[in-house]
């Protein structure tokens, strides 16, 4: 296990090699939040709440969903590239689990990206809509489910990129899953605002555990919400992890690393 911890640590270090670039990335996050804040102010237009969300809760909710979305690993897209260009020959010739190696690398990257975004999100949301009631009480449990949300998002990326053993191009699959997380996962709009039949289904789908459940745990914390978020996240993380292991097991036989 030591090797995977080291891979995690190295990926984290790799992110902060260029500190200015690392911090500059957060500017995009600020722009997105500013746009959302302006948009939702108009939508609320003096209303006290929308489907149980106050404006403060909703805008804080969006800072958490966007933090997860923008912290996801970019390095996982390298799986497709290395299968295509044959670099997979280098990564496969090491004594480790290929899936676990990439997962730990992705998490090292993601969690380091997540920290400044949580700070920037906190400052920006406080500045625009004021503090989130119960923020500190929700934080310890919220961080756990946010971390799990990122784990699920990264597992999706691994699963999609492992499809490159079968398919030349996996980006279309990524776009489909990304849009499902955007909509059914509640990344742009909390699921609670959907028609009841749809929100009931969406709450149970894995996409909701990437964005909705971690964020809702932070903005309207209760032990019940937390346990639902935690249970679902663990279940889907295991399921997606199992799927990734299965795909790798089948896919490695199909590697077509022809030529130098």
């Amino acid at each position: 296990m030591r090797k995977y911890v080291r891979v995690f640590a190295f990926a984290a270090r790799d992110q902060i090699v260029y500190m200015p670039a690392f911090l500059f990335r957060n500017i995009f996050f600020v722009v997105i939040l500013f746009t959302f804040f302006s948009l939702w102010r108009v939508i609320f237009a003096g209303r006290a709440a929308l489907s149980g969300f106050t404006m403060v809760q909703l805008l804080w909710y969006l800072t958490f969903t966007e933090t997860i979305e923008l912290s996801k690993s970019r390095s996982l897209f390298g799986i497709q590239e290395e299968v295509k260009d044959g670099t997979v020959a280098v990564t496969l010739s090491r004594p480790y689990s290929y899936v676990l190696y990439h997962l730990m690398r992705a998490l090292g990257e993601s969690y380091v990206k997540m920290i400044p975004m949580l700070v920037v999100g906190f400052l920006l949301a406080t500045l625009f809509v004021g503090p989130l009631p119960g923020y500190l009480a929700a934080l310890p449990c919220g961080i756990v489910v946010i971390a799990l949300g990122l784990l699920i998002t990264n597992l999706w990326l691994i699963v999609i990129n492992l499809l490159s053993f079968w398919s030349e191009e996996t980006m279309p699959y990524y776009w489909i899953v990304q849009k499902l997380i955007f909509i059914l996962g509640g990344l742009f709009i909390p699921i609670d605002l959907f028609p009841q039949w749809l929100s009931g289904i969406a709450r149970m789908l894995p996409f909701a555990f990437s964005a909705y459940w971690p964020s809702v745990t932070m903005v309207s914390f209760s032990i019940e919400t937390f346990l639902t978020a935690l249970g679902g996240a663990v279940f889907y993380a295991l399921a997606l992890g199992g799927l990734a292991a299965f795909l790798y097991g089948r896919g490695k036989r199909r590697i077509c690393a022809q030529g130098g």
């Binding site: 090699v17 260029y18 590697i255």
Partner: protein
């Protein structure tokens, strides 16, 4: 001698999608794609003894890299058998990884933004080497490969020669018994090539590491290897010592001349490769004419200031094998 690697009747076939030009063809291929079978490796058999330096040669697309990937367990064979230290590489890929090292000259195993020292330490962990022991080995490798000055420089700032030295050092950290080097000197200048060759020879002599080398550089083969396997279109076309290779293909001699007047020579079996002013380079086909006859004729017809007789370069011998000439 102990056999560390044996391959028997190994075949690897790839199915490649055939795409025809034009919109209609592209549309048709969506519903009924057509495939072409490429037999990258075609029933090859050979074995390698412990401590050997083996050159595995072939033109582009001959099946060299595919063979290495099959032997290291990265690719699954279509048919045939492979045994490395008595293990099947596809079933025991991870166990085998502890005993073999790989350097793919065109692919890096070092983290691009971090210094090589970090990658070496990470590899130490990946190979489950005790951290103190890993530090000791890094020290030794830094000494041997003379990489200490840039061990703390980010990889992206290293020259190609420096990076390749670090790559080979990284692949030796876990003391592999076989090192697979896939074009390790590609793109290097003459001095860097020489350094890499010296290092390869040294690890073979000092640690008895078996070296499996693919290269397009005749110098690598001539200066390092005792035996060569030549593969073309997936089949082995030559498997013998370098000495025999040279002997078998040396039907030609190259003569460099410095004269005191322009060259005057016309003879069957003699080809003038270059003649400029008072210097000339000729090639003698020994199957058509005796060497002493040609030299005698040169001496009789010309005033010779200097004469050098040499064998055709290794590169030419290899290309003759590729072409199937004998």
């Amino acid at each position: 001698m102990e056999t560390v690697l044996s391959v028997s009747n190994l075949t690897k076939t790839f199915r490649v999608v055939e795409k025809r030009p034009g919109f209609r063809s592209a549309l048709r291929s969506l519903f009924a794609p057509s495939y072409r079978e490429v037999r990258a490796v075609d029933g090859i058999s050979f074995s390698v003894e412990r401590g050997e330096i083996l050159a595995f040669l072939g033109p582009n697309g001959a099946g060299k890299s595919t063979t290495i990937k099959l032997i290291t367990g990265i690719l699954f064979p279509t048919s045939g058998g492979i045994e490395v230290f008595g293990m099947n590489p596809h079933k025991k890929r991870r166990a085998l990884a502890y005993r073999i090292g790989t350097v793919f000259g065109q692919k890096s195993q070092l983290w691009y933004h971090l210094p090589p020292l970090d990658s070496l330490r990470l590899l130490g962990d990946i190979y489950d080497i005790d951290p103190r022991e890993a530090e000791r080995r890094i020290e030794t490798l830094a000494e041997t490969f003379e990489i200490r000055p840039y061990l703390r420089t980010p990889v992206r700032k290293l020259s190609l020669g420096e990076r390749i030295r670090c790559e080979i050092a990284a692949s030796l950290l876990h003391k592999p018994e076989i090192l697979f080097l896939d074009e390790p000197t590609i793109g290097l200048d003459v001095i860097a090539k020489q350094i890499i060759r010296d290092l390869i020879r040294r690890i073979n002599e000092e640690d008895h590491t078996t070296i499996f080398l693919t290269s397009h550089d005749a110098g690598d083969i001539e200066k390092l290897c005792r035996r060569a396997i030549v593969i073309n279109h997936g089949k082995i076309v030559w498997d013998d010592t370098i000495k025999t290779m040279k002997y078998s293909f040396l039907r030609r001699k190259v003569i460099d001349l410095k004269l005191e007047s322009p060259l005057d020579l016309a003879s069957e079996g003699v080809e003038i490769l270059k003649a400029k002013g008072y210097s000339a380079k000729i090639e003698v086909d020994l199957s058509k004419v005796e060497l002493d006859e040609v030299i005698g004729r040169i001496m009789r017809n010309n005033k010779v200031a200097d004469i050098t007789i040499s064998n055709p370069p290794m590169e030419e011998i290899i290309s003759m094998i590729y072409r199937g000439e004998r």
